[in-house]
């Protein structure tokens, strides 16, 4: 009898140990996030104490007089990411449309793989290519054209002014767009594929064109999922460092022109962190905290959207 008891007993202890270890590492994920926020908060305190909450909207960034504010970097981050989103969303929609509805079956897999390879290229490569090839090309061709035609439009024309060097917030936005297109396109492709065949087939049977099916059936059905994917891309654009640092010019410069050099939170950190000390270091960490919080919120919203799509799907099937 005793022999038959020892084995289950050993199994029980093994089970408890195994489950305990698994739980411990799962909790470590929570601890990791909590300690990132806590440590950044502690180290950012001196900056918040010195400048108050006004740190967030002060446009001063001067290591000589020790005055620091987040506004320029925050605006640069938001503007470059918005440019990226404005370009990437329609392009990604086009690519997802091509893959799911237009391309012949044999072509789908190669195109999907190619777009996913674009996502795998390290961001520093985008940065180098941006600096040595894209920025000069952009300065020679696209920028003069945009300044001439878009710059002449009243009110918004001021956005398209700046020196013709190709190092600017606009260039950063375009390079970011190319980086996030694969992410947004593959989320769109995934959600387009969950649309029930019965829905699209009946629209086709009613005589709808491919475009009408895409625009009036597929997109409304997958709306929340598409928005979730866009938010995911936005999160990546906000936090991207290397691709931006190479082409944005890293100037603490608040101006209306999108062709002026600027800076983002991530590129300010990359450039100044290692040489900083004291209040500047603390201000930089505060910037990092702001960035983390912004991406946190964006991701939270995107998760919410994707969850709602999942719930909707559950109801219909």
């Amino acid at each position: 009898m005793s022999g038959s008891n020892t084995l289950p007993a050993r199994g029980r202890w093994g089970d408890r140990l195994f489950q305990g270890v698994a739980l411990g590492f799962a909790l470590l994920v929570l601890v990791l996030l909590a300690s990132i926020i806590l440590m950044l908060l502690i180290k950012a305190m001196p900056a918040f104490e010195a400048f108050g909450i006004g740190f967030l909207w002060s446009a001063e960034w001067n290591p000589v007089t020790h005055q620091y504010g987040a506004l320029i970097a925050v605006v640069g981050t938001l503007v470059s990411s918005l440019i990226a989103i404005a370009i990437a969303v329609p392009v990604s929609f086009g690519i997802a449309l091509f893959i799911t509805m237009l391309a012949p079956q044999w072509l789908r897999r190669p195109v999907v793989t190619a777009i996913e390879l674009l996502a795998a290229i390290p961001s520093i490569i985008y940065g180098m290519w941006g600096l040595f090839y894209f920025a000069p090309w952009f300065a020679d061709t696209m920028q003069p054209w945009m300044t001439t035609y878009l710059g002449a439009i009243p009110y918004i024309g001021a956005l398209f002014q700046g020196p013709p060097i190709g190092i600017s917030v606009m260039t950063a936005g375009i390079v970011l767009a190319i980086m996030i297109i694969p992410f947004i396109a593959s989320v769109m492709r995934d959600v387009f594929e969950v649309v029930p065949k019965a829905l699209t087939e009946s629209a086709f049977a009613m005589g709808a064109t491919t475009w009408e099916v895409a625009w009036k059936v597929v997109l409304p059905y997958t709306r929340t999922g598409v928005i979730g994917g866009v938010m995911l891309g936005l999160g990546r654009a906000l936090g991207e460092t290397m691709a931006v640092t190479f082409v944005i010019g890293n100037a603490h410069n608040l101006s209306l022109g999108l062709f002026e050099p600027g800076t983002t939170i991530a590129s300010t950190l990359a450039n100044e962190f290692n040489e900083a000390g004291g209040l500047q270091l603390s201000s930089l960490i505060a910037l990092g905290l702001v960035l983390f919080m912004v991406t946190f919120v964006v991701l939270g919203l995107s998760k919410l959207m994707l969850l709602r799509l999942g719930a909707q799907e559950g109801k219909r099937t």
Partner: protein
């Protein structure tokens, strides 16, 4: 123009636009890879693999950065994988429907898309500042923090795909739960889990931002993880921003090496996963 013709026209225009943007996207991929192969190919030669990084204006290679990158990536994966696998196991096997697990899943997604530069700042604060110097270990820890959420995610997904009947069959034979998991569930999900680790490796192999404030760089040969350590991404960053042609050429060589290894890792992960499905 009739209504019918207008609808046909709108359709034709939009479908053409869809084709055109896809071609543009592929065009950018071709442009970037083409430049890399051309510029990098010109400057990858034997001395890249035999000499260490040079000072300004002299020639040299990248061997210390290549070895540094290999070490940092290796230790990043070695530290991050066990944590990720165990946490993923918990989510799939022990707390699949619990509230705690949904919280952990959400937090894991936050970590997954956390800006990598912020992780660099965090590791600077917890390791570099207390130790008083940059080090390879700090770099490896920063990379491990990036590996963990990727591995948690793929491990959980792959374990969830294993049919419940396999667990029940093993349990019915009298196997304790940890034996069921390690001997049956892991075995069934092995190729998927390995794929996750390979993808995580590919992700950190090209990461630059988290290394800037942790491993930093080192102009000399070292395999001591307690010292600042040279690595390809940071060398590429510093050299390509420099005014010296020799440095910029080396940066292109390094860029080609890094992209090739990342793409090879990605493609092998894909092949592994496809092979396991048949």
């Amino acid at each position: 123009m009739t209504r019918y013709q207008r609808r046909k026209l709108v359709n034709a225009i939009n479908m053409t636009a869809s084709l055109v943007v896809t071609l543009i996207g592929l065009g950018f991929l071709a442009w970037i890879l083409g430049i890399l192969v051309m510029k990098g190919g010109q400057h990858v030669n034997w001395s890249v693999f035999t000499e260490i990084t040079p000072g300004p204006g002299t020639s040299g290679g990248l061997i210390n950065a290549i070895i540094g990158s290999l070490l940092l990536t290796l230790f990043g994966v070695l530290i991050g994988t066990p944590v990720g696998v165990m946490a993923g196991t918990y989510l799939s096997e022990f707390g699949r429907h619990s509230r705690l697990s949904s919280a952990i899943r959400f937090i894991n997604d936050v970590l997954l898309s956390a800006p990598s530069i912020v992780i660099g700042v965090f590791v600077y604060v917890i390791l570099v500042e207390p130790m008083g110097h940059f080090s390879g270990w700090a770099g490896a820890v920063a990379l491990a923090i990036i590996v963990i959420p990727v591995v948690v995610r793929t491990t959980e997904t792959m374990l969830t795909l294993v049919p419940v009947q396999m667990r029940e069959a093993a349990a019915a034979l009298g196997a304790p739960r940890h034996v069921v998991i390690t001997k049956v569930v892991y075995k069934a999900a092995m190729s998927g889990m390995v794929t996750g680790v390979i993808l995580a490796t590919a992700r950190i192999a090209g990461e630059t931002a988290p290394l800037l404030f942790t491993a930093l760089n080192n102009q000399f040969w070292t395999t001591n993880m307690n010292e600042p350590m040279a690595n390809l991404p940071v060398v590429i960053f510093q050299y390509s921003m420099s005014p010296y042609d020799d440095w910029i050429n080396l940066a292109w060589a390094g860029a080609l090496l890094i992209t090739l290894s990342v793409l090879i890792l990605n493609i092998s992960a894909r092949l592994l996963l496809r092979g396991s499905r048949h």
